[in-house]
Every structure is written in C-alpha cells, then in structure tokens.
C-alpha cells in the first residue's frame, strides 16, 4: 500500500492513542496502549500497531500531528496541537452539528463550545485537581476494590437519585464510607460518583446546548458517565463510535487538512 497516510497521535497521561486516515479521510488504522513510564516507547508502539492495521509503512506517512499531555514525545510530528483543538475537530467530524464537547480524560476534563460554523468560541479545563476527572473515579473505585467497569456495572443497576456531594477525591472516599455505614446500596453510591463528576462538569458549561458530545476514555468505558451527564444536562449526550480516539482522530484530520500546512515552532520549555 503506498497511498498517503495522515497520522494523529494523542499522548495522554494514562493512554496513548493513534489514528491513521487516508486521503479520503477514511479511518484505516487505530490503536491504544498504556502511556506507562516511557512515552517515546508508547508512541512508537501505538504508531506501529495502527500502521499495521492500515497496512502501511512509515514511508507512507505524509504528515503527523501530535497532541495530548505528552505531545512533545512524538518525534515524527510535523506539528503539535493541543488536545482541546483536536477533540473539537474529531467530534465535529462525527457530529457536524455538535456545539458542546465534553472530554473526560485521566487527569483533566475539558468542555469546549463551538459556534454554528464549528469554530471554537470558548473552552474550559478543570482546575488543577482530580475533581471531575477519570482519576477521581479510578482512585475511588480502587479504594472500593473495584475495577472501573465493575463500578460502571453497579452504577447502571442503581435505582435511586443519590449524588455524592464531594468533588474532592479524598473527601469522596470518606463520604463513600459514611454512606456504606448508613446502609446505602452499593449501586446507588456508585452512580452517585458519576453524578458528582457530572455536577462538576455542569459548572464548566457557560452555555447550555442540545448538541452535546462526550469524548475520552471515561466515556468510552462507562455507560454510567453518559447517563449521569444526560440527567444533569437534561439532554441526550452523543457518544461517538471511538470516544477515546477523538483527540487522535482530530489530530489526523488536522494533519490531512490543507489549512494546516503552516508550521509553528514548538516550545522548548520543559513541562514539569
């Protein structure tokens, strides 16, 4: 195979995602693996696996855009673009009419608002803490000795309108114990955790809209997250076919788009 391929790599704090599209913007390869300790290795692996699925070689790659927290580790990238722009671009491809994109990542959550023409008019990132992020869920699930998918299963079986009041991961842990002591059902406590995240996210929405999509790993793995958001926002929330890959998909689309030929020098600042 020798047609032009465009690669998007999203190096997140917990997972590295790669999406490859061809000249017709058809998704021909994708992969996700843990970011682990060595980002460069993780990047390498995700690109190689996605390429294999696309039946391509490194020579077929016309352009590559890197995004995500560890975007500097993608050595082959022609350009770095933030995950905010990439998630917006990816979600817009799936849902051209989308106006609000909620991306729930491992270490941060973003809410992006688009204009009718699809331009980014506003975005918010959660404040510097785990509230409203995947980390909040993971660490609380860990304390309960549950996997994220087990927590999701339990939550989906909830019948009560319970909400956990704490946004803080530590306080949520204490609140869970108090509720267990008070005899509340595991299912309802679990759903309460998802509602706590949804409540935090609703604070980040400066304007309501009916065209909401959710992306990121948490939404990909937890149906309860989508349900909690739908209840909180009182509207249907769209879950794209590959929520976790939305950023990498957006990056690949940017790599392929003509408007994106201008290069920008990248920062030499070391992120700590």
């Amino acid at each position: 195979m020798s047609e032009a391929l465009y690669v998007g790599v999203d190096v997140g704090s917990s997972a590295t995602k790669c999406v490859i599209i061809d000249e017709t913007a058809t998704l021909v390869g994708h992969h996700v693996n843990h970011s682990g300790f060595d980002y460069a290795d993780a990047v390498d692996m995700s690109i190689r696996r996605a390429l294999r699925q696309a039946e391509g070689t490194l020579e077929d790659i016309t352009r590559c855009v890197a995004t995500g927290y560890g975007r500097e580790h993608v050595k082959m990238a022609d350009r770095q673009v933030t995950e905010i722009t990439c998630h917006a671009r990816g979600a817009r491809e799936w849902y051209p009419q989308v106006r609000t994109i909620i991306d729930i990542g491992g270490q941060d959550t973003k809410v992006i608002r688009l204009s009718e023409e699809g331009r980014m008019v506003d975005y918010r990132m959660n404040a510097k803490c785990a509230a409203g992020t995947g980390t909040f869920l993971e660490s609380t699930a860990f304390k309960l000795g549950l996997s994220l998918s087990a927590l999701d299963e339990l939550a989906m079986a909830s019948s009560e309108q319970a909400v956990l009041n704490s946004y803080c991961t530590v306080f949520a842990g204490t609140e869970v114990i108090e509720r267990i002591k008070a005899g509340q059902r595991r299912e309802d406590i679990s759903m309460g955790l998802f509602r706590s995240i949804a409540a935090r996210i609703s604070e980040m929405l400066s304007a309501r809209s009916d065209a909401v999509a959710v992306t990121g790993g948490v939404a990909a793995h937890c149906r309860a997250m989508v349900k909690a958001l739908e209840e909180m926002l009182e509207t249907e929330v769209w879950l794209p076919p590959m929520p976790q890959h939305a950023g990498a998909y957006g990056a690949a689309l940017l790599a392929a788009s003509q408007e994106d030929t201008q290069r920008r020098s990248t920062s030499h600042v070391t992120h700590r």
């Binding site: 927290y69 722009t85 920008r264």
Partner: protein, 413 residues
C-alpha cells in the same frame, strides 16, 4: 548547560540592576545607622510623606515577589502557616513572614545584605487589601515598631470630593502621629517636591507602557514587571525619573525601528491579575514561541497615576490612592479594561485567578464572562498564584495558553 534566553533584551536593564543594588545597600546602611530611620510602606501607600520626613522607605511586597521569582516561597510558607496564618492567605505575606522566622532572605544572595531592613515604623494603606494590615502587625509586634495606617473607602464607583477629603484627613492624622512619635515636623514644601517627583516618574512610566501600543509592541508584560521596580521602590526620587527617561528613549528607538519585544508578533494579549512570579520565564518563553505579545496588563498600570498639578500634594495623594483599579467597583474596572483592550488592540484576554490574592483577581464575580459576551473577545481564566507554586500546574496552564492561541487563530482565519 547553556540556555538560550528567548527575549529581546532591554539594554537599560543593566542600569536598573545598579539602581536596585544602590537602593538596597542604602536601606541596609540606614537600618544599621541609629541616626537614620527606616519605614516600611505598602506599594500604593503614602510613601511620599515618609520620604519627605526623612525616612528610608522599604516595600515588603517586593520581597514577597522576589521570594516568588526565586522559587523560594513554598519553603517558607509552611512556617507561617504553622503559627496560624492560613495556607490560602496572601502568599507574599506568608512567605515573607516565613522567611523572617527561618532567617533566610534572597536579599542575602542578590545584594549581599543581611535581609530586609528592620523597621522603625510600619505604614500601610488598605486601598489594596486588608492583608497588609495583618502582615505589618506581625513585624510591629516582633520589632516593637509602631504600625500606622490609612483605611480609605473601598470598591468605589465614581470617586467623590467627599471621599478624597476623608482620605486627605486621614493622611493629616497620620502625619500628626508620625510627628509626635518621632519628634519630627513635616516640611510641606519638601512634600510638594517629593510628590512632584513621584508624579513625574509615574507619568514617564505610563509613557513607557504605552510604547506597547505600537505594532509590534516595544515591550511586553514580562519586561514591564521587571522595569516597574523604580516606580514603586524609588517613587519620589530623581533616580526613578532619570531611569525612566533612559528606558523611554530606548523603547522609542525600538518603536521607530519597528523592533518588537516578540519578533514577528502575531497576537496581542492582555494580562489581568498578578504575575505568576515563579513561572515568569517559562510563561514569557511560551508566549514568545507562540508569537504572542502580552502587550498590556492591569498590574503594570497600577502605578501609572494622574499628573500632579502642583497645588495640594495631600489631595493628590488621597485622590490617586483611592482612584487605583484595585480599589474600584466592578463597573469601573470593566470600563477600564475595555478601554485598555481598545488602546492596545488586544486579541484575547487572560485572567489570572490567583489563589491567595482575591484582591487582584477579577474573574470571581462574572467579569470574564461579561467581557466575553459583550465584546466577543476570547477570554481565558488560568488558575495559579502570584508566588505559591503549589497552586500552579505548568502542563495544564501551558496547554491552556496554547489552546487559547489556537482559538484566536481559528477566529482570525
């Protein structure tokens, strides 16, 4: 490893370093000389009265900023917290008190002096915040020095003659108390002279900042926060005037030649709120890389006062001290910001939500949203702190800033 400094260096900076050294050596000498007296003063406090009465004036907030810029605050803050100061109280205050308790100051390394000069008198104005009153009280008790202050009316809309007269009255009382305490007599002609010098330096400072109205802007916020030192620390002296004349000449030459503080400037940003001292360099480089100039700020403009007409120095001091941005209500602040955006042709506004200084944070009562809606201008709120690096995430903030520039680019496309 040698690192490239990504900034267009201002040559006058060498002169500034010399000036700062002289200033601190003189303060240190005064503190050790029983014939001379040192007064501590808040940054927009009545320092002209103190200078006119012969005090050497020291500004502790500068020490707070230095502790932040040298990334030392987090070492000292826990000590202040351990004796009862809130972990989220002013990080200038906490780090300064902590550094005193632990007996270490960057002034030792920078200027080779023992540390902040011991006060004979501490004078504050709560026109900026109440924290300064508590901060000064700590030293008042510790060093047995009198603490005196002015408490003007705050959060003002229009400034009325009655309010000015009220503050003027407080200044007269302050003078009386100092005269009694130190057996001194204020010479009003000398005060008029000092205020004239102070006002002149302030006017020049405004002209310096206005060189950023040029395209490309001749200086950035990151230059401004360094070069503003004389207008605060040497207010009322000829030295400050001479310095700003030199600096202004250099910047005017830049404007004539079309030299920008950020080469090939593409985007013009306004910074609302305090600098993030420990991350100044990283932030400056990030904007430099993104070809964005932070062309104007509320912070640097806080010392650009109206000119003194030569009549009543106390009236000028009273009026300028309550007219400052931080002491005004939301509508006045908002009008000021809109004028600034227009004057400096701003493409996007960054609000710094400083965790430990609500007084210099203006994104907590809806202002950022109102401006976004009314002006259709991109607005970004970043979480951080003036000094306490524990409230700041570099990776998150840098991504936020990059995405902000991407947003501006997309809107301009």
């Amino acid at each position: 490893m040698a690192t490239t400094i990504k900034r267009v260096e201002i040559e006058s900076r060498r002169e500034l370093s010399e000036l700062m050294r002289d200033q601190f050596l003189s303060l240190d000498a005064a503190a050790r000389d029983s014939q001379r007296k040192v007064a501590w003063c808040t940054s927009v406090g009545p320092c002209e009265i103190l200078s006119a009465m012969g005090f050497e004036v020291y500004f502790p907030e500068n020490h707070g900023a230095l502790l932040g810029a040298r990334r030392l605050s987090h070492e000292f803050i826990p000590r202040a917290v351990s004796i009862g100061y809130g972990a989220e109280s002013c990080s200038y205050m906490n780090s300064d008190i902590g550094s005193t308790l632990m007996g270490h100051s960057p002034l030792q390394d920078v200027f080779g002096i023992a540390g902040p000069p011991k006060p004979d008198l501490l004078v504050y104005s709560t026109n900026q915040c109440r924290e300064v009153q508590d901060w000064w009280s700590f030293y008042g008790q510790r060093d047995g020095a009198p603490v005196m202050g002015v408490c003007p009316p705050t959060h003002l809309g229009e400034v009325t003659p009655e309010q000015v007269a009220f503050v003027r009255g407080q200044l007269e009382q302050l003078i009386e108390r100092i005269e009694q305490q130190f057996s001194l007599k204020l010479d009003y002609d000398r005060l008029r002279e000092v205020v004239t010098l102070s006002s002149r330096a302030s006017t020049l400072w405004r002209q310096v900042l206005d060189t950023a109205t040029a395209h490309p802007a001749a200086l950035s916020f990151f230059d401004g926060v360094i070069h503003m030192a004389p207008v605060i620390l040497m207010r009322g002296t000829q030295k400050a005037i001479d310095y700003y004349e030199t600096l202004l000449n250099e910047l005017n030459r830049r404007v004539e030649k079309g030299t920008g503080a950020v080469p090939d400037e593409l985007h013009r940003i306004y910074w609302e709120g305090m600098p993030i001292w420990p991350k100044l360099r990283e932030l400056s480089e990030k904007f430099y890389d993104l070809r964005a100039i932070v062309a104007a700020s509320t912070y640097c403009n806080s010392w650009a006062f109206d000119e003194f007409d030569g009549d009543d120095p106390l009236e000028w001091m009273a009026r300028t001290s309550i007219e400052i941005f931080i002491n005004r209500d939301e509508p006045v602040k908002q009008r000021f910001l809109i004028e600034m955006f227009d004057k400096f042709a701003i493409d996007g506004v960054i609000f710094h939500n400083a965790r430990t200084c609500p007084n210099n944070t203006n994104s907590r009562f809806g202002m950022s949203e109102r401006l976004r809606e009314e002006l259709s201008i991109p607005v970004l709120v970043i979480d951080g702190d003036l000094s306490d690096v524990r409230f700041f995430s570099t990776a998150q903030t840098m991504t936020n800033i990059e995405a902000f520039i991407e947003q501006i680019e997309e809107l301009q496309r």
